[in-house]
């Protein structure tokens, strides 16, 4: 790995702002010119994706674009820096936003959703915040965008404005706001013990000399409580299934990609860039985190088995898979981290495929229960085909990208000698298969006379879901294609673990 060298560039800023700038346009256009309004969204998404991808070559060369805006507190600047990990997250978020935008158009029109302007505007805001999280160069900037994301998601969760949705919204807030406060607490405490600045640093910027171990442990707890809610670590997960009351594209992007991934991204940042493996081992909190993650991924898979509502089952599956990533970050081995970063990307493509499929089914048939979906595969072959790809991938079948990340995770546990976690990983993989395969199986191999009049959903929806499924497949075969996922993950791991020696 070359020595990182940072340079000033406005490109991260533009990548950040482009969706924010789209919001006034979206709002001003309003309901009167739907096509124009959607054009803004698509344009912003394309621009954002292009901008983010354009930074990939730099990062692969070890050059880090950076921009400092102004001082947000006397000692900390509002600054953006596109390091490897941030870029990974940004690539996932922006690319999938583009696809989701296309899909959304089909979905909201197909399902006749109301207040579409607010919907698209909030969506753009969420993406703004997500990219902000990805590019944040220090804890304060991170915190600001993290909170912004929490708030911007709220209108999407309650979008349907039904009592259920409102209740879900309340639940969401009652988890996310305390979490934000915990994060604030953690950051404030960090600032008070480490006044020199809060810039993220591969390998961690805190050291054991900054404060007593007890305090460091407390701060770590607050950090994990703060980001862990979004990452849906087990006792804090229950908002996620509830938030499935939101429209499917929201669930797809936000609750499979942006919001929850912001949570696990936060975990990675905290473990790798604030504390660093060395200090974590020193204060010994990593085992606790790993155990939480391990329990979560097992229990969530068990819970997923019991869900009949498709989106809820997907939600629990998400909970489980997020913990894979957390586990990878927690066990503090190079391969674990590689697996973690890879799973951050790969899980996104697979899970978004599944959500897209669920949405397509809902729009076409208004069915949400798995038991009602018997035989649907024959009516919607592309959709269910994509679903099959996604679920196979999540179960870790070789040939699809999920296998690749899981393999690395498993290697990581082995590397650290954590055989119990390896066992849990395997068990969870089996459970994954157990709750996904029946869906696929009954969709394709059982008949249902009721299903005769349905066909595929509109092209707006089918194309994106096919694309994401294809992506999963391709990445499974050639993980280093296009996004250089493998290289990036290795770079992250090397940077973080390198510091620890």
């Amino acid at each position: 790995m070359d020595a990182l060298h940072t340079f000033h560039s406005t490109r991260p800023l533009w990548a950040l702002l482009v969706s924010l700038l789209a919001i006034p346009l979206i709002v001003a256009t309003g309901e009167r010119h739907r096509n124009l309004r959607e054009t803004w969204t698509i344009l912003a998404a394309v621009a954002k994706t292009v901008l983010v991808w354009s930074m990939l070559p730099w990062v692969l060369q070890g050059r880090v674009p950076e921009i400092s805006l102004w001082r947000i507190t006397p000692s900390v600047e509002l600054a953006l820096r596109v390091d490897t990990l941030g870029l990974v997250f940004a690539i996932v978020a922006s690319t999938l936003w583009l696809l989701t935008s296309l899909y959304s158009i089909g979905y909201v029109r197909g399902a006749g959703e109301h207040k579409q302007t607010r919907y698209f505007a909030s969506f753009a805001m969420c993406l703004h915040a997500t990219i902000g999280i990805a590019f944040a160069a220090n804890l304060v900037t991170f915190l600001i965008f993290f909170e912004m994301l929490s708030i911007a998601t709220y209108p999407l969760v309650i979008h349907k404005e039904t009592p259920v949705a409102l209740a879900a919204g309340r639940k969401y807030l009652s988890f996310v706001l305390p979490a934000g406060l915990m994060l604030l607490l953690a950051v404030v405490l960090t600032a008070s013990i480490h006044p020199g600045g809060l810039d993220f640093q591969a390998g961690g910027f805190l050291s054991g000399d900054d404060a007593s171990r007890v305090l460091l442990r407390w701060i770590f707890l607050f950090f994990i409580l703060g980001v862990g809610v979004k990452a849906a670590i087990m006792p804090l997960q229950s908002w996620l299934p509830a938030a499935m009351a939101a429209p499917t594209p929201v669930s797809a992007l936000l609750h499979a990609v942006a919001v929850v991934k912001a949570g696990v991204f936060g975990v990675l940042r905290v473990t790798g860039y604030v504390y660093g493996p060395h200090l974590l081992k020193d204060i010994g909190v990593w085992t606790a985190l790993a155990w939480f993650a391990g329990v979560t991924l097992t229990v969530a898979s068990l819970l997923a088995l019991r869900q009949d509502n498709l989106k809820r089952r997907l939600a629990y599956s998400t909970v489980g898979h997020l913990s894979y990533i957390v586990l990878g970050a927690a066990i503090l081995t190079p391969y674990g981290l590689i697996g973690s970063v890879l799973h951050l990307m790969f899980h996104a493509t697979m899970k978004i495929t599944l959500f897209f499929c669920a949405g397509a089914i809902y729009v076409r048939t208004h069915k949400e229960q798995i038991s009602d979906m018997v035989g649907i595969g024959r009516q919607m072959p592309i959709t269910m085909g994509a679903f099959a790809v996604g679920s196979l991938g999540l179960a870790g079948i070789p040939g699809i990208n999920g296998f690749f990340s899981k393999w690395n995770l498993a290697l990581g546990t082995a590397q650290g000698g954590q055989w119990i976690f390896l066992g849990l990983l395997v068990l969870s993989g089996v459970l994954n298969a157990a709750y996904f395969f029946p869906i696929v199986q009954q969709a394709f191999f059982r008949r249902n006379p009721e299903f005769s009049s349905y066909g595929e959903a509109s092209m707006w929806m089918v194309v994106p879901l096919a694309l994401t499924a294809l992506m999963s497949l391709v990445l499974g075969l050639a993980p280093n294609l296009a996004a250089h996922a493998w290289d990036l993950a290795r770079a992250v791991s090397a940077a973080v673990m390198g510091g620890a020696g």
Binding site: T73, L143, Y154, A167, R170, L173, L177, L184, S192
Partner: protein, 583 residues
């Protein structure tokens, strides 16, 4: 006809207050006259050191207001609408001078102004340092905004009181500015009363119950002010001086004296009462709720804040903060009382069904934050407290103004009638939402940063419990604001009854509100008659001030570091300077 008497009452009271203002000068003079008789003039009357250019600034800050006190009632008598116009002009001039004052102070350092040219220990001194210039600027901004807003609001709600209302407003700002700028303990008391008296009068206008709450406030406020005066008396007995700087320089020799403790406690108690520190907040909810929306919009953001400012002055500039906070354990008392206020105010706010009352209780909570910052004695906490003076002023005035707008447009301020208003009045509620988010402390609004510095201070002072409470208290704030925001945006006005039946009103603790009864046959005097169904955004004059302040919460949040490094860091007392920050 009663219209006539109230307006005259107002004007009468206004003049009374103005008299007090004049008294300021004479009270000082009274002392000098005697000295003059002794012929030792030269000893007292030194040559005022006149740095050219800047030295008149402190007087210039008060000048527009003093002129306004005369002009507003006088011209208002000619034509009623002139009162409004003159007020706005006066306040804009005030704002301009305040800006100039701040820049001057930042460039040249503290300005001392010897009124009537007498040297400080005897004469009255006006001090304009970074802290007072900062607070004056906050006052000026709020004054301008509320004045613009009040033009239409007062005309619609109680047109016959236009002239007295604006006279009072100017007098109140005069009093508050005087409190902020004066360097003399007794002078401060006089301005204290000037602002309070006009506030009593302003608060008496409003609901049927307004005079009762105003009277209660008057009694309690008088106890507070008298307690402060008593404290000043003790200090005077001990030091023989009333000049703050002078007293401060004399006090170190007296630290063991129990009378000094008594003086301090009396002053803190008096000021605490005026700033609604926890057990002494009883006057606030009623007073804010029943006063007219314009009165509340001008009083709520500034009144308690200026008292808090004075508390800062006393503890950190007159007394030795270390002695006060640690040796006397007053810091402990103040912080915990303030924190109790935060919790209590927030909890009570959640229980309210009247939006204005909810905001009133949240004011108690927010003042509590300032109190926590003052009592902690950590530089960062103090930064947070000072910053929160500005931040809370912007948020609260915006919120109260929006409440007033809704009251005018729909005739209601009951929580449940706000359902779905967000769509009907998008711009109004944009302001409200921004300010509400700032109250909750969502970054990057300014509310977040006051909390940030407070938390930093508490962490620095190792007050872990307080730190956790501080952070958790924003949850309570979030509780009542998001409940309201949910109503505003996510529910429709039509399902008032059915909605509560269906959801069981989870947000309102399952209590079914007597909603049907309140479809409010009653409308406000100023209501445009369209009711809830036809509510829409008001005109620009009403809309712009809250909107600007709402957006201001965002902007102030983003540029808070500038304020902290350039202004507040310079405003900190010498003992608490943060190394590497400011001057």
């Amino acid at each position: 006809m009663s219209v006539k008497w109230t307006s005259r009452l107002w004007a009468g009271a206004g003049t009374a207050l103005a008299t007090l203002v004049s008294a300021v000068g004479v009270a000082a003079a009274a002392g000098h006259e005697m000295a003059q008789a002794h012929g030792d003039l030269s000893a007292i009357h030194g040559a005022a050191t006149q740095s050219p250019d800047a030295f008149q600034i402190p007087a210039m800050v008060l000048a527009p207001l003093l002129i306004g006190v005369v002009l507003v009632p006088a011209l208002g008598r000619l034509r009623r609408s002139l009162a409004y116009q003159v007020t706005v002009v006066v306040f804009v001039a005030y704002l301009a001078v305040a800006l100039k004052a701040l820049t001057t102070v930042l460039a040249h350092g503290t300005l001392h102004y010897k009124m009537a040219g007498w040297m400080p220990p005897v004469g009255i001194e006006w001090t304009l340092d970074a802290l007072s210039a900062f607070v004056v600027l906050v006052l000026a901004v709020v004054a301008v905004m509320v004045a613009i807003y009040s033009g239409v609001a007062v005309r619609r709600q109680n047109p016959e009181r236009e002239v007295p209302f604006f006279s009072m407003m100017v007098v109140m700002m005069l009093g508050l500015t005087g409190m902020v700028m004066t360097g003399d303990l007794f002078n401060l008391y006089v301005f204290f009363e000037v602002s309070s008296l006009s506030a009593y009068a302003l608060m008496a206008v409003g609901d049927r119950k307004a005079p009762v709450s105003s009277f209660r406030y008057l009694l309690q406020g008088t106890i507070g002010a008298s307690s402060y005066l008593m404290g000043v008396g003790y200090l005077y007995v001990l030091t023989g001086s009333l000049n703050m700087a002078d007293v401060a320089s004399l006090l170190p020799h007296l630290l063991g004296n129990p009378a000094l403790t008594v003086a301090l406690v009396l002053m803190v108690a008096g000021l605490g009462l005026k700033m609604a520190l926890f057990p002494m907040h009883l006057w606030l909810p009623d007073a804010y709720t029943y006063a007219s929306s314009t009165s509340t919009a001008i009083i709520a953001p500034v009144m308690t804040k200026v008292s808090a400012y004075v508390l800062i002055r006393m503890i950190y500039f007159v007394f030795d903060s270390n002695w006060v906070l640690s040796d006397l354990h007053l810091g402990f008392v103040v912080t915990w009382l303030a924190m109790a206020g935060v919790i209590w105010g927030s909890v009570m706010a959640i229980a309210q069904r009247d939006v204005k009352r909810m905001l009133a209780y949240s004011s108690i909570a927010q003042v509590g934050y300032i109190g926590v910052g003052i009592g902690t004695g950590n530089p960062w906490a103090l930064v947070g407290a000072i910053l929160h003076i500005m931040n809370h002023a912007t948020m609260k005035s915006s919120l109260f103004m929006v409440t007033g707008i809704v009251e005018m447009q729909t005739g209601t301020r009951r929580l449940q009638n706000w359902n779905g208003l967000g769509r009907k009045m998008p711009w109004t509620f944009l302001a409200f939402t921004l300010a509400a988010l700032a109250m909750v402390g969502v970054p990057p609004t300014n509310g977040f940063f006051s909390k940030w510095y407070l938390a930093l201070g508490l962490a620095g002072a190792k007050q872990w419990v307080l730190l956790v409470l501080l952070v958790l208290s924003s949850l309570l704030t979030a509780g009542y604001f998001f409940r309201l925001l949910e109503r505003i945006y996510a529910r429709t006005g039509e399902d008032v009854g059915s909605g509560s039946a269906r959801v069981g009103e989870a947000g309102d603790g399952g209590v079914r509100e007597d909603g049907g009864a309140n479809a409010d046959g009653v409308k406000l005097a100023g209501a445009s008659g369209s009711g809830i169904a036809g509510a829409r955004d008001p005109g620009l004059a009403l809309l712009l001030p809250p909107l600007l302040l709402g957006v201001g919460t965002l902007v102030l949040g983003l540029v808070n570091a500038w304020f902290v490094t350039e202004v507040i860091a310079k405003a900190l007392p010498a003992a608490l300077r943060i190394p590497g920050l400011g001057g």
